[in-house]
Symmetry: C2
Subunit: 328 residues, 2 copies
């Protein structure tokens, strides 16, 4: 099998389809299921103590003989301990985010790891490339959870990043279907990272109430807020309305920080408190119709992608069928 | 020539590529140039007195024998007078926006006009379809100028709208290239509406200083603001910084309205005051590299689109080349 897609070659996977390593939702069960289905599964380290992470890595390794990764936010307090566990356990792929890739990339690369960094602008993509990462994830405004300050959408971000770096670009934000995957590839990406769709999977560790809430989220049901702290996209639930109220009353940055408190996303996403918890999810939740096994999600996305590509190979038809020839 | 693309058939144009009817930027010179190049040019009525509009329609008709349209914001004070001029002059296509399509669609249709309504959500798309419009423009968060409250991006909005209505969907917001056009079509659109890219055209009536500013806008250089009034995307210029300052000081809705005042966009976009004027443009401005003749913009976009489609017809290559076959 020869392939010219650099992301699938780099990661050693069949499909350039990556499951995001999300806080509270990405345990070894999810990562191994996605890897077994031909994508790249990622364990979300940010919501795990170092020993918990080590356990998830070990179990993931037992559950799949295919590559998998760990997502590592570089601002995390236990970062050194996390990196130690990742190196000790021989995790082949590390996705870093939320911090400066200059600090750890060389060390991870010297230890033979593939390093991918998440960015929200072409300028940061360039910095990540200069730091030596193997690829970047370009994540747009529509993505769930923590988000960039530029508010650039995936449609605008992907071509800008693809033009600014030579390393491969993985698109993220707003992607949960095969047609969105193909659209991202057309824009210049060589792969996609999908989060929200996998929150609503059987193997996700999201609380069942949160999974159900994701399925029920209508269009316009999420919002990017707390921009004075770290911008984060969440569901407009009662907790969000207390944030809205705080803004209306002219809350200070310290006031917002106090309101958010600690453990707010755990309470919502992992413990299932739909009222006072923080529920991080992307705009694409409006398109999610049910909770499915992760392997079936991968298969559905790839079947839709394949169908569109094969249709193209047969020549423009349907909505693509118009006179493309130069008129003058 | 038979074509199954419903937008090009509906509008009677070669390419389903529509130039947005933008305030201060879309005179007869631009509309006729785009129509002559095979797209649909649209005169922007919102910044024209009724008699000025009538003059632009007459000159556009002299400058092209192909279809063209007028964009009509339904909240405009001179609306009745505008509609009268449009009916008298026999303009074949009317794009309506910013208001309830129920009020005028039937009358326009009874007079033989094609009616397209601009929406920012699937719910409003459905309402527009029920009102009898022929097609909808689904315009995402990244678009310049007035924008929806849901903040749904084009990548998420287009498939949601395409699924909710049976009439054809035209994608808008973040589109200025052939690859973005193809991505939008993959998502379910049957055509695209392009604004920002045509602001930076020779025939646009934008002030030369504004055109130059659009070319120089970096990524992250625009922002959606004044959400308490009508959300509007503009360049982060000194006028925007006075808005920012007003927010920081806890400005009321009335205070924001007073700060915006009247004629602010004319001052910036048409008169060229880059400091105290309002400069409406989309995120895609970061990708615009120069001011070109409108016909050449159409030709460049279509050449890129055609190249991508033809490449697909030859089978997956480059970044699209990976093993798509089911693995299990």
């Amino acid at each position: 099998m020869t392939t010219r897609n650099r992301v699938s070659r780099l990661l050693g996977v069949r499909y350039p389809l990556i499951q995001a390593g999300m806080v509270w939702c990405s345990p070894w069960q999810l990562a191994s299921a996605v890897s077994n289905a031909g994508g790249l599964g990622i364990i979300g380290a940010a919501s795990m103590y170092p020993d918990v992470l080590a356990e998830h890595i070990a179990k993931c390794r037992n559950a799949t003989d295919r590559p998998f990764g760990v997502n590592l936010p570089l601002l995390y307090p236990d970062l050194e301990a996390h990196i130690e566990r990742i190196l000790a356990a021989g995790v082949p792929v590390v996705f870093t985010s939320a911090g400066n890739p200059r600090k750890y990339t060389r060390m991870l690369k010297e230890n033979g790891r593939t390093v991918v960094h998440v960015v929200s602008s072409a300028a940061f993509a360039k910095k990540a490339e200069d730091a030596g990462v193997d690829a970047v994830v370009a994540e747009g405004f529509e993505a769930g959870g923590h988000n960039g300050r530029e508010e650039t959408t995936t449609l605008c971000l992907v071509p800008e990043v693809a033009e600014s770096v030579d390393i491969p670009v993985i698109a993220a934000g707003g992607i949960g279907t095969g047609r969105a995957m193909l659209a991202a590839m057309v824009l210049g990406a060589e792969g996609v990272q999908i989060g929200s769709r996998f929150v609503a999977s059987d193997e996700s560790s999201a609380h069942p109430a949160f999974k159900q809430r994701v399925v029920e989220t209508p269009e316009g049901g999420t919002v990017l807020t707390l921009k004075e702290l770290t911008p984060v996209r969440m569901i407009r639930n009662p907790f969000y309305h207390t944030i809205e109220q705080a803004y209306a009353e002219g809350a200070s940055v310290d006031g917002l920080r106090a309101l958010l408190g600690r453990g707010r996303s755990k309470r919502g996403m992992f413990e299932g408190d739909m009222d006072t918890g923080e529920l991080e999810i992307g705009q694409v939740s409006a398109q999610i119709r049910g909770v499915l096994p992760a392997g079936r999600i991968v298969a559905e996305i790839m079947a839709e992608y394949r169908g569109l590509v094969n249709a193209f190979a047969a020549g423009p038809a349907g909505r693509f069928d118009f006179d493309m020839d130069p008129s003058e």
